[in-house]
């Protein structure tokens, strides 16, 4: 790999702050807490209490407190699961893929994206557990040496799902932690107070900035990035297999794996925008996460949005040419004109319509528009999963069994509560973990300076 390739092209976004400013800006949130943080924390804490209440109620009383029925045996919980897992794709995508592709601008947002990934995947993991009729036997889905001599059914995608999500979580955590070590050391060295320094000291694992440490860490990061990049593709492919191995029209499709991965990254990048825009205001990180960075993310969003639109077109063209009448009616009648037809069209507006705004350079550089587009796309992606899961089930093969679905307050509470829980943990992350990779930002600055000198 030649040195030439490592140097970023001149048009890439660049952090405008200097070395000292970068470190100070990243450590500042660890030192002081803005009042708005406390307001947001209180809101999220209240929502988390709601989530906890709804979860305890569900486990105590049974899944019946949700709106699920026969035929719609899967609904909000699975929609939420797929949605959160999807959100959990962007962090790793931004970090690992862009790292492998040598896009140093990612450093400004990679930490936020990675932590978002971890929290989102952890929250996603709660849904399949809660969703079980008898959640206390969840471990039967794992291949453990049972005295009964029974194993999970390896033909079922649900058993693969457990493995895929757990491994994705473990590798993502490792990737995140490895990337954060130098900044944790920075916090250890730069913060006041004995206890703080002790805690950060433990997590910094004795990092002293020696050349060998940098070299080994970088090698490890590259290797894990390679693994996690593969996992980004595999985990949502496997999640999609939860649907495509079924015979149900609307689920039974070989398109689903790429389509799910693209959708996942789409919602993840949207979530990054939704988070980054207020954070740079809240912590005055405008000099680190610049408008150029936002513009880059917006272009990424537009590209993925177009890819997803292509997936939709392919899906419907294939369905319309299907020899299975059930498949034709599901895609061409039940989804767009069935029980949830209006949600289908709303989903198209959000997912296909919203990114078209981003053709405009002016809008791409307007943070509020980007945050709004992110929210719309997140909603659209949630609706997309709702259509796939619920609308396909509600109108299945036998017309006698068609039955609509209506969520209960518990369903809504768990969805709203999971967002609150996400917000709560994310706020704590902002409070205690350096929000940007200072080493990479500084390295990027150094390499640019070197290029300019040459």
């Amino acid at each position: 790999m030649s040195a030439q390739v490592l140097v970023a092209p001149p048009d890439l976004p660049v952090t405008t702050a200097g070395d000292r400013e970068i470190v100070e800006a990243v450590l500042a949130p660890l030192r002081t807490t803005p009042p708005l943080w406390w307001v947001l924390f209180a809101i999220c804490a209240a929502g988390t209490v709601l989530w906890l209440g709804a979860v305890v109620y569900t486990v105590a009383a049974g899944i019946g407190v949700w709106g699920n029925n026969i035929p719609v045996a899967w609904a909000f919980a699975i929609v939420n699961f797929v949605w959160w897992i999807g959100i959990g794709h962007a962090g790793t995508f931004i970090s690992a893929f862009l790292m492998l592709l040598n896009q140093p601008w990612r450093a400004a947002v990679s930490r936020i994206a990675e932590s978002m990934t971890l929290i989102a995947v952890a929250i996603a993991g709660t849904f399949p557990l809660l969703h079980l009729g008898r959640p206390w036997f969840f471990y039967w889905l794992t291949p453990y040496p049972s005295t009964m001599g029974v194993w999970p059914n390896f033909k079922s995608a649900l058993a693969w799902d457990v493995a895929a999500v757990v491994s994705y979580f473990i590798v993502s955590t490792t990737f995140f932690y490895l990337g954060a070590i130098p900044d944790l050391a920075l916090a250890r060295d730069g913060l006041q107070g004995r206890r703080r320094r002790q805690v950060y000291g433990v997590f910094a694992l004795g990092w002293n900035g020696a050349g060998t440490q940098w070299r080994r860490r970088r090698a490890a990061l590259k290797i894990i990035a390679g693994i996690v990049a593969a996992l980004v593709v595999s985990v949502h492919s496997i999640v999609s297999l939860d649907f495509s191995i079924a015979q149900l029209a609307g689920w039974h499709s070989t398109n689903l794996p790429p389509y799910f991965v693209i959708g996942a990254v789409y919602s993840g990048v949207a979530m990054v925008l939704v988070l980054v825009v207020p954070i740079r205001r809240l912590y005055r990180l405008e000099s680190i996460i610049t408008l150029d960075h936002l513009d880059k993310l917006a272009r990424l969003l537009l590209t993925i949005g177009l890819l997803l639109t292509y997936c939709y077109v392919v899906e419907f063209v294939i369905a319309s040419r299907s020899s299975d009448p059930l498949e034709r009616t599901t895609y061409l009648q039940h989804w767009p004109f069935g029980y949830f037809g209006w949600l289908f069209w709303l989903m198209l507006v959000f997912n296909v319509g919203t990114p078209q705004l981003l053709w405009s350079a002016r809008l791409r550089r307007t943070p509020a528009v980007l945050a709004g587009a992110g929210v719309a796309i997140l909603a659209g992606m949630w609706l997309e999963r709702f259509i796939i899961v619920v609308a396909s089930l509600a109108q299945g093969a036998l017309p006698s069994s068609w039955f609509a679905y209506r969520p209960t307050w518990v369903d809504w509470s768990i969805l709203a509560g999971s967002l609150s829980l996400f917000g709560l943990v994310f706020l704590l992350f902002l409070r205690f973990v350096p929000a940007a990779a200072t080493d990479e930002l500084r390295r990027d600055r150094f390499e640019r300076a070197a290029r300019v000198q040459r």
């Binding site: 009729g133 999970p152 059914n153 299975d324 006698s400």
Partner: protein, 938 residues
């Protein structure tokens, strides 16, 4: 309650004196230990009758774990249906039909199936009450004893009224006779809301001999006496392969929609007031004097021609609730066609007091209001609830100083009476009853009265001064005295034979060929009225007597699939005129009284007519029935037509617990039907889609019997008996209206209704198809649903964690999930559970097992006998209950079984065959037999 050890030893008669070493030998100790454990468990819930009862199958020793069957009969409106009741260690759990009984032929209806739940109903009246206080039987005996009664009601009983449900019991008739002998002026009134008159003769039909049937406003295939028999005979003529004399053809003229009407080859919806004029014109057309005056006439002329072409082999059936004019006309048409004594004949009515001067209920009510009645005995009929509103019978009963009510529940009538006596359920009683044709049976108890219930005979005996009569002895005395039995053998032998068979052979009444003189046709029908209301019994809870049964409340109405309440059915055109849709409330006002009901728009209903049903809106002390639906009895004008009817849209609407919102096939090939052109059978559907998947390889020759089922859609009427039978057999929980609204009913077997544009509505019993390539199995992550070696798709409840993926992947949507702990708690109704079937806990999936418990029991039995099991020896619960034998079960290797004959029929097909699931359940296409002369018009 546990029993002290010493007492237990005495009870068992353990002889321990001979042992010298140990006062209690080891074996005896184990025996006592086991017995005390067993008795500690069952003591509170099982009571064995003190008197001898005799099992249907000779089986003198009772083996724990092996069920026994006893023959008895259940009477509805007095008419008996023969039953075999399954009993587990003295606890009746399941009702089957008695194959030898003419009203059953081995089948059962929904009411018979559900009656066993009623036995254990925790809401049943539990004590004798005088107003609010508990009272004793002796206190009641003093009240009704001859001295007290004579002083209160007069020596000739002029102040005594007996208000009873119709009965065919010779025993009750005998006791009533004695009561009337002593109190000749007493007022005896038999009343049942669905039985307007007690004619001396009843009409018998031979449905199987009729080539052409015209049913006028009657649901003769699914309700009324002998409906099981009629359905069997009818279905026998709907299978083109085997129907003797070819297929029959059914024309139906009705206002509201019935199960019978939905299965008609041609159905004609007319307003109720137009039915008699339609029949008049039909009679004229048959007689050859065609008077074309209405657009109906082309239809009528075709029907008349068809009937005439089958003179002597046709049948016109008028419903029991039609006006007398319609019944007379139907009889006249039958006479004109020469059907009398061929497809239709008459017998004496089996009911007590039939043909006599049965006073009307309103005359009794007037007497009560006038203070003439000082003592009322009301038994077996909830008269305060189930009577015309304008009669205000409840208020009249409250005027009676000493009103005694004998009933199963503390219902509306119980509230109006000062004295309440819990009635014994028929499964707790000794008695007798006659079937519709007069066949005599013994009502044999399976259990001592759970709540100290008394029979009518015991209550009436109080009037004769006999406070402690034994119904058993009295019954045997009357049978002995009548001398029916002792013709051939000793009385005791014959008696046992009757108990074992469940009927006295040859006791049916002889034909009486002379038709009863037709009463003059009363043209009392006002020609026009803006709106008509048709009052019908609810197809599930009937007149309200069965309203407290969760099984029946949750059994969907066949026309609307509404559960847990009653509705007003209107046609689409009427709904449009009133600007309402399904669920909107309508205000129905008849002669100043009104009720609000949710409307349901149904296709095929007569215009400007609303059908409303009895049986709901109960306000008695029955927790299941209370709050379900609205009471329409207050509106009921009896058997008159009311001119003063208004139906209007009320404000508001109501969400209905409908189990099947979508009734059209929408291009699905789930139900296939063919026309019986010249009685030839065509392929059901030559344009069937090609399979999307390759058939799985069959593998090795199976080593065990391979179970399979066929369901003949041509024979199925959709009556719903299979659903209740399945529920009773398999401990399927009742979930309640709220859960049905959420789409969570638990029925393992449901009936799908498909309204086909070109034909009637077709019922399709849908249950687990036991696919050979089951989509549910491979998606389960914990292998909780697996395939057995004998071809069953098995559900392992213990292993299920409840991912519900199996249900999502089941194209038939027959899997049911325990969303809550539906089986937790509960009162005495838990005793109805089948001990052979696991009770499922919260969070696990369940579904039809092909009655695996019956299969395994048969296998064990065959192994014990050292014989090979034949597939046709096992009957599933649904198959056993089915009146039309539409459901057949057996094994694939028994080539000459009825099931296999059906399976290889050209009509056989698999639902959703193209998905490659290879179901073990095959359906036989429905065969329609339309009249070509009417087809062209459609």
């Amino acid at each position: 309650m546990s029993v002290p050890f010493d007492e237990m030893r005495n009870r068992l008669g353990a002889d321990t004196t001979g042992s010298t070493i140990d006062p209690i030998a080891r074996r005896d100790f184990m025996k006592l230990l086991g017995a005390s454990l067993a008795l500690a468990g069952v003591d509170g819930c099982t009571r064995m009758p003190a008197s001898n009862i005799h099992p249907y199958v000779h089986q003198p020793e009772l083996t724990p774990g092996i069920a026994q069957h006893y023959a008895t009969v259940m009477a509805v409106d007095g008419y008996a249906t023969g039953l075999l009741v399954e009993s587990h260690e003295g606890r009746p759990t399941k009702i089957e039909g008695n194959p030898d009984h003419p009203a059953s032929l081995g089948a059962t209806g929904v009411l018979e199936q559900a009656s066993v739940l009623q036995l254990y109903d925790p809401d049943r009246a539990r004590r004798i009450r005088h107003d609010a206080a508990s009272a004793s039987w002796d206190a009641l005996a003093a009240l009704l004893g001859p001295e007290s009664l004579a002083s209160r009601a007069g020596a000739r009983g002029g102040g005594l009224a007996l208000l009873l449900a119709p009965t065919s019991s010779p025993l009750e008739e005998e006791v009533l006779h004695r009561v009337l002998e002593r109190y000749p002026d007493a007022h005896l009134c038999f009343y049942a809301p669905l039985m307007p008159a007690l004619p001396a003769h009843v009409t018998q039909w031979s449905v199987g001999d009729a080539d052409v049937i015209l049913a006028v406003d009657t649901d003769f295939l699914a309700s009324g006496p002998f409906h099981l028999r009629h359905a069997r005979a009818f279905a026998g003529r709907r299978r083109p392969e085997s129907a003797p004399g070819g297929m029959n053809r059914l024309y139906v003229v009705e206002s509201s929609i019935s199960v019978t009407g939905m299965g008609a080859d041609h159905r004609h919806a007319v307003r109720p007031r137009d039915i008699s004029s339609l029949l008049e014109r039909l009679l004229a057309a048959i007689a050859g004097e065609s008077r074309p005056s209405s657009p109906d006439d082309q239809w009528l002329n075709v029907v008349a021609a068809d009937l005439r072409a089958h003179a002597g082999r046709s049948l016109v059936i008028a419903g029991p609730l039609t006006p007398p004019a319609v019944q007379t006309l139907a009889l006249a048409i039958n006479q004109a066609l020469g059907n009398i004594d061929r497809t239709i004949w008459f017998t004496r009515s089996p009911l007590a007091g039939a043909g006599g001067s049965n006073p009307s209920l309103s005359s009794i009510a007037d007497r009560m209001r006038g203070g003439d009645i000082t003592t009322l005995i009301c038994a077996g009929v909830n008269a305060s609830y189930a009577s015309e509103g304008r009669m205000e019978l409840g208020a009249a009963i409250r005027r009676v100083p000493e009103a005694v009510y004998l009933g199963l529940y503390e219902d509306e009538t119980a509230r109006d009476c000062h004295w309440i006596v819990p009635a014994a359920h028929y499964l707790e009683s000794w008695g007798d009853a006659r079937a519709y044709d007069g066949t005599l049976s013994v009502v044999q108890p399976l259990i001592e009265p759970l709540a100290g219930g008394r029979t009518l005979v015991e209550l009436l005996s109080l009037l004769l001064g006999d406070a402690h009569v034994s119904p058993y002895d009295l019954l045997r005395d009357t049978w002995r005295a009548r001398g029916d039995l002792a013709r051939r053998h000793a009385f005791e032998d014959d008696w046992r034979d009757v108990l074992r068979r469940g009927l006295l052979p040859g006791s049916g009444f002889p034909r009486e060929s002379a038709p009863p003189s037709p009463s003059p046709i009363a043209a009392a029908m006002p020609a026009t009225a803006p709106f008509d209301v048709v009052f019908r019994p609810h197809p599930r809870v009937r007149d309200g007597a069965f309203a407290n049964s969760g099984w029946l409340q949750e059994l969907p109405d066949p026309v609307t699939t509404v559960t847990w309440e009653n509705v007003a059915q209107v046609s689409a055109a009427t709904a449009q005129r009133l600007a309402l849709t399904t669920g909107d409330l309508v205000d129905i006002r008849v002669e100043g009284r009104s009720v609000q009901l949710p409307a349901v728009v149904v296709g095929g209903h007569a215009d400007d007519t609303a059908t409303i049903t009895f049986g709901h809106g109960r306000t008695g002390a029955e927790s299941v029935a209370r709050g379900a639906g609205a009471n329409v009895y207050p509106l009921w004008p009896g058997d008159r037509f009311s001119r003063d009817v208004t139906v209007s849209r009320a404000s508001g609407s109501r969400q209905l617990a409908i189990t099947q919102p979508h009734r059209s096939l929408d291009g699905s090939a789930a139900v296939q039907s063919i026309d019986a052109g010249a009685h030839a059978v065509a392929r059901p559907d030559t344009a069937r889609p090609l399979p999307l998947y390759r058939a799985p390889s069959t593998g090795d020759t199976p080593s065990r019997l391979q179970w399979a089922m066929t369901i003949d859609l041509s024979a199925c009427t959709g009556c719903g008996a299979c659903m209740v039978a399945c529920q009773a057999e398999n401990n399927v929980p009742v979930v309640g209206r709220d859960q049905v609204l959420l789409g969570r009913e638990m029925h393992w077997l449901r009936i799908d209704w498909y309204a086909q544009p070109d034909a009637a509505t077709t019922p399709q019993p849908m249950l687990c198809q036991h696919c050979e390539a089951a989509p549910c199995e491979y998606v389960c992550p914990v292998e909780a649903t697996v395939h057995s070696q004998d071809g069953l798709n098995e559900m392992v409840y213990n292993r299920c964690v409840g991912t519900r993926f199996c249900s999502n992947n089941c194209p038939y949507k027959v899997r049911r999930f325990n969303w809550f702990d539906f089986n937790a708690g509960g009162g005495s109704e838990r005793l109805v559970r089948n001990p052979d079937v696991t009770v499922r806990e919260r969070g696990v999936m369940e579904k039809c097992t092909f009655c695996v418990q019956r299969i395994r029991e048969a296998e064990i039995h065959a192994r014990a006998e050292g014989q090979a099991l034949r597939g046709s020896e096992v009957q599933t619960a649904c198959e056993q209950a089915c009146p039309t034998q539409a459901i057949l079960f057996g094994s694939l290797d028994e080539r000459d079984s009825a099931m296999m004959h059906a399976r290889v029929s050209e009509r056989a097909y698999a639902v959703l065959d193209e998905l490659g699931t290879v179901p073990r359940v095959r359906y036989l296409a429905r065969v329609r037999n339309p009249n070509p002369a009417l087809e062209s018009r459609a």
